[in-house]
């Protein structure tokens, strides 16, 4: 898979526009989307007005009040800046996407099906037919109705190797903005201008159409609720102080309020969301919505296709198992002959094995006067006809039927019952070991069975162990018979398997899992996967897949790499974890802030309350100023973390919580004590108050 390099956070190309963006986002309409920061902005306006009033009347401690005001505004700006940086990184990526989509011309096929005329790509409608020839850019998303072509999809995948696209089957979808390298295709347009894949991608990474996800909305509710609680906590203080015969300046109340409300997470929330989406895009996965990304983090069951995901796409011959009376060499010889012209990977692996084991070399097919009999769905066999002799290899039942047929035709004995039984025993044996048996027959005589082995991908077992630790159950989907499936499942270490799976079985499995309260993810590419993709909570369609599959899923993997489901889950989890961790950090910070500001606030009324000044802050003013400076600076300090995300480790939920609670909860408790004390020392040393 290819990852685009991530832009450094403090890259000047991002930094400068982000600073400008921080100011632009002071627009109340923009601020209103973020309740916590909106409240901070409102109180900042209030204190600024009060400051101006005091400036005119000359009342109050102007220097102190000015500095608090300054840092209040910095708090808002830092929050805006965080969001702008996240968006800037996305924009940088979108820019390169957009370049690929410079105004294209399309050759629209006339209604009569004859001839074409040039139109602007933007004017295409869904259902239009266009012709695209070598060297041309495909004008919009569509489905090939005719032709085969190699296409360069680097614009969306970053992969420069061309891919084959052809009409019919599962590789018929093409993406607007990609380039046809050879041949020609007729394409039916499936997306109107502005809603193509690349358009959606650009919109997503720029964060322009970012909609709040359910979890984000819930978190916003929590933050708004906490803000209200702290409104209550601070708004009642003047009355309390009045009872005690004191009065608390508004600026001090505001300082307490702003430090108590969860500004840290409030400021970073949208940056975390944008960065999460961005991580996915960088990973060459396109999520149709933020909701899908979060759902990925919730997955309980992962359906994985065996072939290509768990095993290498191709089976390989690993053993020759002759029946009694046939030497291994004879079997190998026949098998090699039958496979010489077989260009499938399996066929080639037989030739290779024969050479490795018995030094049987390639032979000149023409010299042998051989004709190759290719595999057909009907016969389910392939082979070769030599002078007066025929060799066939194929599925055991197909081969047996073949023997019966030929013996009935020429009246010879249909192989001995004994050799049939033996053959079947060997075949069962191989199936149990997870292999695929391939029977070989020469002139109606059973020679033996080839053991075709599924090669489980290296490292996949460890991934499944990891998934299990994450609490995710893996189910292998395969068309193999149950015996073979069980053996491969055991070898790969998946939790369960679905053998001889039809698309209906898949759909049923997903529904069953969901009925048990599980969230299911799967990936698929074929049109017949579409119902299952739509039913799954997270359906990842392969980019090579059909348009139907791509529309049914809620994510598209541009690299068409099914193993990426695992990473997608991690990215989903990481997004939520980052929010949770920073929320915890933000709330835990409050303890220190209370201890900084509350004694400072009431010390004029009850001087003995200095006993609560556990940090030993030098003056009430420096204490309050330090708290508000800390509160602002911590936002900037946490921008990198919110963009990068909290590291996810597959160690189980309980230990994960323990770890995050220690780092962000306990850390959030301790860090501000140290930070505020340090700032207090600096503030005092340089005489700010």
């Amino acid at each position: 898979m290819s990852r685009s390099p991530s832009a450094s956070i403090f890259d000047a190309r991002i930094l400068a526009p982000a600073i400008a963006g921080a100011f632009r986002k002071l627009d109340p309409r923009t601020l209103a989307k973020n309740p916590v920061m909106f409240v901070v902005a409102v109180v900042s306006v209030l204190t600024t007005v009060l400051f101006v009033r005091d400036l005119v009347t000359g009342a109050g401690d102007l220097g102190f009040s000015f500095q608090i005001n300054l840092w209040l505004w910095f708090t808002v700006l830092f929050a805006n800046f965080a969001e702008a940086v996240a968006e800037g990184r996305g924009k940088a990526q979108a820019e390169s996407l957009r370049r690929s989509r410079s105004e294209t011309q399309a050759r629209l096929i006339n209604a009569d099906g004859e001839g074409t005329r040039l139109v602007a790509g933007a004017s295409l409608k869904v259902g239009d037919l266009v012709l695209v020839e070598a060297g041309e850019i495909i004008p919009s998303d569509g489905e090939i109705v005719e032709g085969v072509a190699s296409v360069n999809e680097a614009a969306i995948t970053g992969e420069s190797a061309p891919v084959i696209r052809e009409s019919g089957g599962d590789r018929s979808a093409v993406t607007g903005g990609t380039q046809v390298l050879s041949d020609w295709i007729r394409v039916r347009i499936t997306a109107a201008a502005g809603s193509t894949f690349i358009d959606r991608m650009v919109a997503l990474v720029e964060g322009a159409e970012r909609q709040k996800t359910p979890n984000e909305i819930a978190l916003n509710v929590l933050l708004a609720g906490l803000t209200l609680i702290f409104v209550l906590a601070t708004a009642t203080i003047p009355a309390f102080a009045a009872y005690a015969g004191g009065s608390i300046p508004v600026i001090v109340l505001v300082a307490l309020f702003v430090t108590l409300i969860p500004t840290t997470i409030g400021a970073l929330l949208s940056a975390i969301g944008i960065a999460g989406m961005d991580r996915l895009v960088r990973f060459n996965v396109l999520a149709m919505s933020g909701r899908a990304v979060e759902a990925a983090g919730d997955i309980d069951t992962l359906l994985l296709d065996k072939t290509g995901t768990i095993t290498l796409g191709n089976r390989q011959a690993s053993d020759f198992r002759p029946v009694k009376g046939v030497t291994e060499r004879d079997l190998a010889d026949a098998a090699q002959l039958a496979s010489l012209a077989d260009e499938t990977p399996e066929g080639r692996s037989i030739v290779v094995l024969a050479k490795e084991k018995y030094g049987i070399r390639g032979r000149d097919m023409a010299g042998l006067n051989a004709t190759f009999v290719p595999f057909t769905a009907q016969s389910r066999m392939s082979g070769v006809d030599l002078d007066g002799s025929s060799i066939r290899k194929g599925a055991v039942d197909a081969v047996l039927r073949h023997i019966e047929r030929t013996s009935a035709a020429n009246g010879s004995a249909a192989g001995t019952a004994e050799s049939r039984r033996e053959l079947e025993a060997i075949a069962t044996d191989i199936s149990k070991a997870g292999g695929t048996p391939l029977a070989v027959v020469r002139d109606g005589r059973l020679l033996g069975v080839l053991h075709l082995k599924d090669i489980v991908k290296g490292g996949i077992r460890e991934r499944f162990v990891e998934l299990r630790r994450m609490g995710i159950r893996t189910v292998m989907i395969t068309g193999d018979n149950p015996m073979t499936a069980a053996a491969i499942a055991a070898e790969a270490g998946v939790d369960d398997f679905l053998a001889e799976a039809t698309p209906e079985d898949k759909l049923k499995l997903i529904r069953d899992e969901q009925a048990k309260g599980k969230l299911v993810a799967m990936c698929g590419d074929g049109t017949n996967d579409a119902p299952a993709l739509a039913q799954a909570d997270v359906g990842v369609a392969m980019n090579t897949g059909t348009m139907a599959a791509r529309e049914a899923g809620n994510m598209v993997d541009l690299d068409s790499d099914p193993t990426k489901l695992i990473e997608i889950v991690e990215i989903g989890k990481q997004l939520l974890m980052t929010r949770g961790a920073l929320t915890t950090f933000s709330i835990a910070n409050d303890v220190a802030k209370y201890f900084a500001i509350v004694p400072a606030m009431f010390i004029a009324v009850y001087p003995q309350l200095d006993a609560l000044n556990v940090m030993g802050l030098s003056t009430p003013e420096s204490a309050i100023l330090s708290a508000i400076i800390f509160n602002a600076l911590i936002i900037v300090a946490l921008i990198p973390l919110s963009l990068k995300g909290v590291a996810y480790k597959a160690i189980g939920a309980d230990r994960l919580l323990q770890r995050n609670l220690l780092v962000y909860g306990l850390g959030g408790l301790i860090v501000p004590f140290i930070g505020i004390k340090a700032i207090d020392m600096i503030v005092t040393a340089i005489g700010l108050v």
Binding site: G225, L232, D298, I472, V598, L609, G652, A653, D654, L657
Partner: protein, 560 residues
């Protein structure tokens, strides 16, 4: 001394914790019977359904359950108010108690309907025996039963089952849980020397020849349910410090056990109904931890001598004795003060106003949290609110959409939970702010300075926590106090029942997800820690500025 104090606490708290286990099992059997109402063993359900009438026949959704509860509570309020208003015309009034003032009637009816038992009257001075028993003691049964019923409904909802029927639940709680327990306890109290008579006050001529009127009455029956149902309203003004409510050391122990017994058992009942005993264990442990911390603080601070006696030739080795009874031993007062406020009981075994400043903070903390066992039924419901918030934050931290028992906790649930928690803060802090800054509060104080502030803060805290104890020096039988705390008690009673049931109603419309190694476990120490942290940060820190100006300021200005 220290050994005895620790042993004493362990005996009361540990002993009750042990006893709560079988009681929780019994309560689940009583409140959530598995038997079909048709079988032989279903006769109870059939009987209750017959009493309740047609509406008691079928299961209710949360809105119907809630409206049934409100209707019943309306009847409770009305009956109580009517008896109080007409007591001078009604029987069982041997001492000829006169009519009560209107705002006091409102306050008292609100107070006992809401299971608060804040008493702006003094029982032996103002009320007839009929008012005490027919109005107040009746409400001590049915208001407590209301809480237990609400918890049973909440638990059923969380278990993914129909909520049940309020009209059945209230009778189950009354007749099967509270009544047998109250009978047993009342007899124990009678054995311990608590009066139970319908005769009027006794007139004695003391050894020095002075006339002494000794108020008495049907005390044992009243005290028994007052303690068991986290009601707390005493038969006499000074509550369980009164020698006739609490004659000795052992009755004191029994009464303390009775304070926390059912609240503790409610946790187990909840855990059993949702089918998660280990989860119940974690909740129980968190509650117990808070309780023990408060007890330790309370006993520690109360060992400090009466500050006002400093410099006088007075031997204060027994600690602060102001407002305390000799027969309860040195730890009796402070331990009771924590138990009664950790639950929403509100009876007192020592005068809270006369506790040392920091000791006085412990009861307030208990009522601010109001969930470290809490009131019967409602304490566990309050804890559920903290659990929702805690689960939400913890759920995100493990990278999943937060779930509780497989139910997804989303915006609506978080909103409802926070509203309920916010309401408590609003009532306590908002009420205190208004009364502290106006003559409504300032003119009624019995103490000056920070302690006077504490009296106001305590009163609203107690009303909002439906506790009912008081810094009793406060002259709280005034129109503003009666009305303000009356309203607060009613709102603070029903909001934290209504909103959690609404949460359950909202959850039950969702697809329930399965739990696995990857979902948040609510059964371990990590979750317990998370829950405790949530309680401290969301529940307690809000009150820190108020605490600073009250008990903490009094402590730092006077105790050093």
């Amino acid at each position: 001394m220290l050994t005895q104090s620790i042993l004493f606490v362990v005996l009361v708290v540990g002993g009750t914790a042990l006893a709560s286990w079988p009681l929780g099992r019994y309560m689940q059997w009583a409140m959530d019977p598995a038997d079909l109402p048709s079988g032989i063993s279903g006769w109870k359900t059939r009987a209750f359904a017959a009493i309740g009438g047609p509406l008691a026949a079928s299961s209710q959704n949360w809105t119907r359950y809630m409206s049934a509860m409100l209707a019943f509570n309306l009847v409770m309020f009305a009956v109580c108010a009517a008896i109080l208003a007409l007591q001078q015309h009604l029987p069982l009034n041997p001492d000829g108690r006169p009519a009560l003032e209107a705002s006091l009637i409102f306050n008292t009816a609100a107070s006992f309907t809401s299971n608060t038992n804040l008493q702006h009257y003094s029982g032996e001075v103002s009320l007839s025996y009929l008012s005490q028993l027919g109005a107040l003691m009746w409400l001590q049964f049915v208001s407590a039963a209301t809480g237990i019923a609400a918890l049973a409904a909440l638990a059923r909802g969380l278990a993914g089952r129909p909520l049940g029927n309020f009209f059945l639940d209230i009778q189950r709680a009354c007749f099967l849980v509270l009544l047998p327990a109250a009978l047993v306890l009342a007899v124990l109290l009678v054995i311990g020397g608590v009066p139970m008579t319908f005769e009027g006050a006794a007139i004695a001529t003391t050894l020095e020849g002075v006339q002494q009127t000794i108020a008495r009455g049907p005390v044992a029956a009243f005290v028994s349910i007052k303690q068991l149902g986290t009601n707390g309203g005493g038969f006499f003004g000074p509550n369980s410090t009164h020698p006739l409510e609490n004659p000795g050391f052992w009755t004191n122990i029994i009464e303390m056990v009775a304070i926390i017994l059912i609240p503790m058992a409610c946790v187990w009942m909840f855990a059993r109904i949702i089918g998660r005993l280990r989860h119940g264990g974690v909740i129980f442990a968190v509650m117990l931890a808070f309780l023990l911390v408060k007890i330790a603080g309370s006993v520690y601070f109360e060992a400090a001598p009466t500050r006002a006696f400093a410099g006088l030739p007075i031997d204060q080795t027994l600690g602060n004795l102001e407002g305390k009874e000799m027969r309860f031993g040195p730890a009796g007062g402070p331990l009771w003060s924590v138990l009664t406020t950790s639950t929403s009981n509100g009876s007192v075994g020592a005068m809270h106003d006369s506790l040392n400043p920091m000791t006085g903070l412990m009861p307030m903390v208990g009522m601010w949290l109001n969930a470290t066992f809490g009131g019967v039924g409602v304490g566990m419901i309050n804890m559920f609110l903290y659990i929702v918030v805690g689960v939400f934050i913890a759920g995100m931290m493990i990278g999943r959409t937060p779930e509780y028992l497989g139910w997804r906790v989303e915006a609506r649930e978080v909103k409802l939970a926070l509203l309920a928690l916010l309401a408590h803060g609003l009532f306590v802090l908002g009420g205190t702010a208004i009364f502290a800054a106006t003559p409504w509060g300032a003119d009624t104080l019995n103490n000056t300075g920070p302690h006077g502030f504490s009296e106001i803060l305590y009163e609203f805290t107690s009303a909002s926590a439906n506790n009912g104890s008081g810094f009793e020096g406060l002259g709280d039988n005034t129109m503003p106090w009666n009305i303000a705390t009356g309203i607060v008690m009613l709102l603070a009673r029903f909001i934290p029942i209504l909103l959690p049931l609404a949460i359950v109603g909202s959850l039950s419309g969702k697809r329930r997800s399965a739990e696995s190694n990857g979902t948040l476990s609510v059964e371990g120490g990590v979750f317990g820690t998370m829950l405790a942290a949530t309680i401290v940060v969301v529940g307690a820190l809000t009150f820190f500025p108020a605490a600073t100006l009250g008990p903490i300021a009094e402590h730092v200005t006077t105790m050093n």
